[in-house]
């Protein structure tokens, strides 16, 4: 009963509802404007909502997240540029539809299907998360340590580029997180006797630099590209179209939520697998896949929105994010004093149900904003990059400064922005860096707790791992990723891409 009340908090407080709506609205546009990404928006936003209460801040950020995942499909359809990695599969059939002048229909179907997928994902989250967190209570410090390593490795191995680069990025993140005075012994770590380094490096500065400034610098390569004009008329799809694709959308939602719930895998893989599934089960598509088949739009869009709910399961119950966006959401929760993990569900179940409520409302707003305001939408999307890029840079600087009112944070932010720019160019994933910075403290604390409880005996530590089934599973998973070097998911992913290549 209290769960229901917490769930309804967002509905009963008009200001929170307004913030979710505002966030979703902004998210749809942020996701849709080429050159703006959800990761960027949420990382910059964290610094501005820093001083807010938890509820309003979370409402706004969940809105942006949900809207952004959906918004990425817009540019995929209209410009053949996926606004987010999870919209890659949407472009395959969405863009051909737009070229035939059916952009309106494509957007309409995408919206309704994202809504359905989103709902199913949230449903599964509400049912499964309490069970998972009950189980996670049995975790020992060494399990947390292993989970943190596993999460960083998974994100590293799944990003494009090689696992080694992912490992480097993750380790770099942990090292950045360790800068400053050690909280337990007050020993100086990586401070090089600079006083400014004693307090550590603000992870918000790292985040905004890597996802805001480096992205903006990269966008400078495309500054001369014209904004594309599209005529869009009717977008609300007919009921018969929705009915016709309902069975497929249920199947692909199931795929989405399952893939999303695996720690380390997110919407992009879910969408590609769903697309593949649709191709296999659709016997007679109206048009061939890759040429504007409606099924090729339905499948990835239901799956990537269902994956949102799925991805929240490991994020909320274990504190292990699936991708860069969920990593930043964890950062956002940290900033507001919440500690995603099994204890969150026990200490603050209200927060969990509140977040579920926000997700539901964000999903509804997404439907609303997706099907209306198309005139305004085309205007905003046409905003030239020559104005957009300087504005992003300005917002990044303001954001970095705002958290601690420290000019040093602005320099860190710029430094990491320029460093991140080169990392992007040379194929080093940025997600693991952020994850490493965020999980650094958890990793360090739990390692020391675990090894102290074994009286600094490494043998006893490993014996403990081998005798506990849970630790053993986690340990084997870590070892598997390490040893294989070519992660299974990465291989599956590249195979999917190859198949696409062969067919396109």
């Amino acid at each position: 009963m209290t769960a229901l009340m917490d769930f309804l908090t967002v509905v009963t407080q008009p200001d929170l509802l307004l913030l979710v709506g505002l966030g979703t609205f902004a998210g749809v546009y942020v996701g849709a404007i080429p050159g703006l990404s959800v990761t960027m928006a949420v990382s910059i936003l964290i610094s501005f909502t820093f001083a807010w209460d938890v509820y309003p801040a979370i409402s706004l950020m969940i809105g942006i997240y949900m809207g952004g995942v959906y918004g990425g499909s817009r540019t995929a359809i209209l410009l053949n540029i996926p606004g987010a990695p999870s919209a890659i599969a949407t472009a395959l059939d969405g863009f051909p539809m737009a070229k035939r002048g059916e952009a309106g229909t494509a957007i309409g179907v995408t919206t309704v299907m994202s809504f359905i997928g989103g709902f199913l994902g949230i449903g599964v989250l509400a049912l499964a998360a309490p069970l998972v967190s009950d189980f996670a209570l049995k975790f020992q410090p060494r399990d947390y340590m292993l989970l943190a390593i596993l999460g960083i490795l998974l994100v590293g191995s799944l990003s494009q580029g090689s696992l080694v680069k992912g490992i480097f990025a993750g380790a770099l993140g942990i090292a950045i997180g360790a800068v400053g005075r050690d909280p337990l012994t007050f020993a100086e770590r990586f401070t090089f006797n600079f006083q400014i380094l004693e307090g550590g490096i603000s992870f918000i500065a790292v985040m905004i630099g890597m996802f805001g400034v480096s992205e903006a610098l990269l966008q400078l390569h495309h500054v001369d590209k014209d904004a594309v004009r599209q005529k869009i008329s009717r977008i609300v799809p007919s009921l018969s179209t929705v009915k016709k694709h309902l069975p497929l959308s249920l199947q692909t939602s199931a795929i989405g939520v399952t893939i999303g719930a695996l720690p380390g895998t997110g919407g992009d893989i879910a969408a590609l697998m769903a697309y593949d599934h649709a191709k296999r089960v659709t016997k007679n598509p109206e048009r061939p896949f890759g040429d504007g088949a409606m099924e090729g739009l339905v499948a990835p869009e239901t799956a990537n929105n269902a994956a949102v709910g799925g991805a929240f399961i490991p994020m909320m119950t274990l504190g292990i994010p699936g991708d860069a966006v969920t990593a930043i959401m964890i950062g956002a929760l940290f900033i507001h004093g919440l500690n995603p993990g099994p204890m969150l569900m026990i200490d603050q179940p209200d927060m969990f149900w509140f977040i579920v409520g926000c997700l539901v409302m964000a999903n509804c707003f997404m439907l609303l904003f997706g099907l209306t305001g198309i005139k305004l939408f085309t205007k905003i999307v046409e905003m030239p990059r020559s104005v957009l890029i300087p504005l992003i840079m300005l917002l990044s600087i303001v954001g970095a400064y705002a958290v601690n009112n420290a000019i040093a944070d602005v320099y860190w932010m710029l430094g990491f922005g320029i460093f991140g720019y080169f990392m992007r160019h040379y194929g080093y994933p940025l997600g693991p860096v952020i994850l490493g910075v965020i999980l650094s403290r958890l990793l360090d604390d739990n390692w020391r707790r675990a090894i102290i409880s074994e009286r600094e005996d490494l043998g006893a530590f490993f014996a403990g791992i081998l005798t506990s089934p849970l630790s053993l599973v986690l340990f084997v998973a870590v070892i598997l990723i390490f040893v294989s070097q070519t992660p299974i998911w990465g291989r599956a992913k590249s195979q999917l891409f190859k198949r696409r290549d062969a067919q396109s």
Partner: protein, 192 residues
Amino acid sequence: MQHIDPEHHDGTSDATPGGELDKRRPGELAFAAFLLLASLGLLWSAFGIENPFGPNGLSSPRSIPVATTLAMAVAAAIVFLTTVRLPLDNAESFAKDILPGVVLLFVVFLVAYGLLLRPLGFLPTSALFLVASIKILAKRGWLWTLGVSLGSLLVIWLIFRIVFTVLMPAGIVPEAEFIQFFRGLSSGGAEQ
């Protein structure tokens, strides 16, 4: 997947852009070497971390930094050795594909912004930054440039001052007096 973008960017914002898998991009080797040296430097620095309360054992503040920097150094060494073996991608050039002039210019702009923010204050620095960068990127008339940049600066300032209550360095602009003046003006207007 289809090739979406001709400029070595696949368009997805969170993905890393660029290059071909079996070729080395210009500057990639130097970057890998830099990372390797930096990692070794950090590893050395990690060994210097002293536990003020006891031995530098497994539970000391040194252990995780040593482990992570070791992982960094090993990974960076592997990356360096693989990169050395790859043939250079001759279709790309450092000045055109990696660090074109406009990116370099903006790096300078950003650093200049950071240096001027304290002494000049938020509003003048941002105005300078926006006018200069939008003029250079959009290549349009002064009236348009000034209108767009100052207009958006005003919107940003209003949103952050009022909605998010972020305080930026005021510098040479008496911001607080400004706000007070307008408050007085609007309350004066209400009386009429």
